[in-house]
């Protein structure tokens, strides 16, 4: 059943569940954060509307900076503004920021220890028809490897709003990963959100056989698979790991101790993403069999988000298959 303490959206099972792009929550959160904190500035690289920085730009025109199509300048200008006491949120598509400007982020933001929030929208394969050039599948790995960097990948628009506000409070270098497509609303305004805290969204009756750790919109696929499996007598626990770094190690280890079988699910290359973070944690603390659901060392292509998620192995059927595989390995 859904964790009653988290006040999740009770309609999330329905076919007509409300769907909102995750990036929309960032846009709302940035306006709220901007109202509370005058030092917040928004900087964008010619993608103000699609990264949802538009409402902030309209409300705070003096605190909005347009750098044009120049992602290296985007983050380095932000570093300079942060050095003068500003808290910059910088947005572009994940493929370009942090895709293009990794070294500038490393040197001028994390090495330099300046509080800049890098917001990468349109991440993952679900960008869809734009094709492989625009499908950032490596961004979590690129950001996770940087010392001092916090990495957050919210599961829905409401969590994205809360994550934006929490990052404004945190005032540290961070990467916020967002998706383009509409996706099911999983949480509610009453669902707590704390950076670095994993949440068990779904628990079966009795000890679980398998734990699924997911992030982003794919959390919904994990939930649907868990519910279906429970009807077949297979008990699956689903964890939303919105904060990929710092990883909630104690939650991961506790889940491994209970289930002794862990599956990770993410819209990212298998190498270096959430699955890798979980594997690093478990290999060093409590090794158990793992299955990794994500993109297997290849690039995407044009298609609808659903087609691509299914084709590259991150659909509900893929979770079901992975659960059966891992049960055979236990």
């Amino acid at each position: 059943m859904l964790n009653p303490k988290l006040h999740l959206n009770q309609k999330l099972w329905n076919d007509d569940v409300e769907q909102i792009p995750i990036r929309t929550g960032f846009g709302e959160g940035l306006v709220s954060a901007g109202e509370k904190d005058e030092t917040i500035v928004g900087i964008c690289a010619d993608l103000t509307e699609s990264t949802k920085m538009g409402p902030f730009a309209e409300k705070f025109p003096k605190r909005f900076v347009q750098v044009g199509v120049a992602e290296q300048n985007l983050v380095t200008v932000a570093s300079g503004m942060a050095a003068m006491g500003k808290l910059p949120f910088v947005s572009s598509y994940a493929m370009f920021s942090p895709g293009r400007n990794w070294e500038q982020i490393r040197t001028t933001i994390t090495y330099n220890d300046q509080p800049v929030i890098v917001v990468g929208s349109h991440a993952g394969i679900s960008v869809g028809p734009d094709g492989g050039t625009h499908q950032a599948l490596e961004d979590v790995a690129l950001m996770r490897v940087l010392p001092r960097m916090t990495v957050i990948c919210p599961c829905d628009s409401i969590e994205a709003r809360k994550a934006t506000l929490a990052l404004a409070e945190l005032r540290r270098p961070a990467y916020l990963r967002l998706a383009r497509e509409k996706s099911p609303v999983i949480t509610t305004n009453d669902t707590p959100f704390v950076i670095g805290k994993a949440q068990v969204l779904y628990s079966p009756d009795g000890l679980a056989h398998v734990g699924v750790i997911a992030c982003g919109a794919l959390v919904h696929n994990a939930l649907k698979a868990a519910r279906k499996l429970e009807k077949d007598g297979i008990r699956v626990k689903v964890v939303n790991m919105a904060t990929i770094k710092p990883l909630d190690s104690s939650a991961v280890i506790a889940l491994a101790k209970e289930c002794r079988a862990i599956i990770t699910l993410e819209e990212h290359q298998i190498a270096g993403g959430l699955g890798s973070a979980v594997a690093e944690c478990l290999a060093g603390n409590y090794p158990v069999p793992m299955e990794f659901l994500g993109v297997h060392d290849q690039y995407g292509q044009s298609g609808t988000p659903t087609e691509l998620i299914e084709h590259y192995g991150m659909g509900i059927k893929d979770v079901l298959a992975a659960v059966r595989r891992i049960l055979n390995r236990k």
Partner: protein, 287 residues
């Protein structure tokens, strides 16, 4: 206008800075010689006259900011900071040693008085522009702080620089002064051979910057250019400072092989002798 006495004073500081550069590179056994020696006059000018700062209050909010984009010339930065009183001159001998605050390239975490950590080329002008814009957001036209961005000529080959050039002009960042160390050398040779910069004046002017070209060893010219940049209100200013790499050490001057090489003990002895005697014009008190 600087008085003759002021110029002499700044030149003595520059000479002391150059001696420290040689001494610290000798101890470090690695590091960059030519660039730091070439920029000693500009550093002397900025820290002993041109910039608003206070060694007693390094985190004074209203200080001018200096962003050293080409971090590899940090020996001149460290030597100047020490001579200006930010830390003991003796600490210069720890350059590049394990545990030293004087990292091989400046790191703010180790030495908080440096405004930015730098080394990888091409990012400093953007950071300086961000600082200038932040200052403008807070104080509008009544900006209190001037942001100096020090760039090398070789790093103008980085694309990031030209993104910043466009950006600073768009936002009319008149509180931003960029200074290019135009010494015409980089690691693998002369800039004009590796990747020519062509007409730099025309390039920056066409991006809508105010451009001043000077002899980077002439204190009066440096002063006039910096004062002029403070007076230009409509746009950012770039000072293209022609400098001699390895300045005042004859065997290093204009030789690109000294870009990233330190002197050995014999070479350092010759270099220090030359600096202490002002090229043989006076008797050294030390030798």
């Amino acid at each position: 206008m600087l008085t003759d006495e002021k110029i002499r004073n700044l030149e003595i500081h520059a000479n002391n800075i150059r001696q420290s550069i040689i001494t610290m590179l000798l101890q470090a056994k690695s590091g960059h010689s030519a660039g730091p020696l070439g920029m000693a006059d500009i550093f002397s000018y900025l820290f002993f006259h041109g910039m608003r700062h206070d060694p007693q209050r390094p985190s004074w909010a209203e200080r001018d900011r200096l962003v050293l984009s080409n971090g590899h010339i940090c020996p001149v930065y460290y030597a100047t900071l020490a001579h200006a009183g930010y830390f003991p001159v003796s600490e210069l001998l720890t350059l590049r040693k394990f545990g030293s605050r004087l990292q091989g390239h400046p790191h703010r975490e180790w030495l908080s008085v440096v405004e930015t950590s730098s080394g990888p080329l091409g990012s400093g002008l953007s950071q300086a522009a961000g600082m200038a814009l932040a200052d403008r957001i807070d104080f509008g036209a009544m900006t209190r702080r001037r942001i100096f961005a020090l760039l090398s000529d070789g790093e103008l080959q980085e694309g990031n620089i030209w993104e910043a050039v466009m950006f600073a002009a768009k936002y009319k960042l008149h509180n931003l002064t960029a200074i290019i160390d135009y010494n015409n050398i980089q690691i693998e040779g002369y800039v004009e051979d590796v990747m020519p910069l062509a007409d730099l004046v025309a390039k920056w002017e066409s991006f809508n910057w105010h451009v001043i070209e000077i002899d980077g060893h002439n204190m009066q010219a440096i002063d006039e250019a910096v004062e002029k940049s403070k007076a230009v209100f409509e746009k950012p200013t770039v000072i293209i400072a022609h400098t001699i790499p390895g300045k005042d050490v004859a065997f290093m001057e204009r030789d690109f092989h000294w870009h990233g090489t330190p002197p050995d003990p014999q070479q350092a002895r010759v270099a220090l002798e030359e600096l202490r005697t002002l090229g043989g014009r006076i008797k050294s008190e030390h030798s």
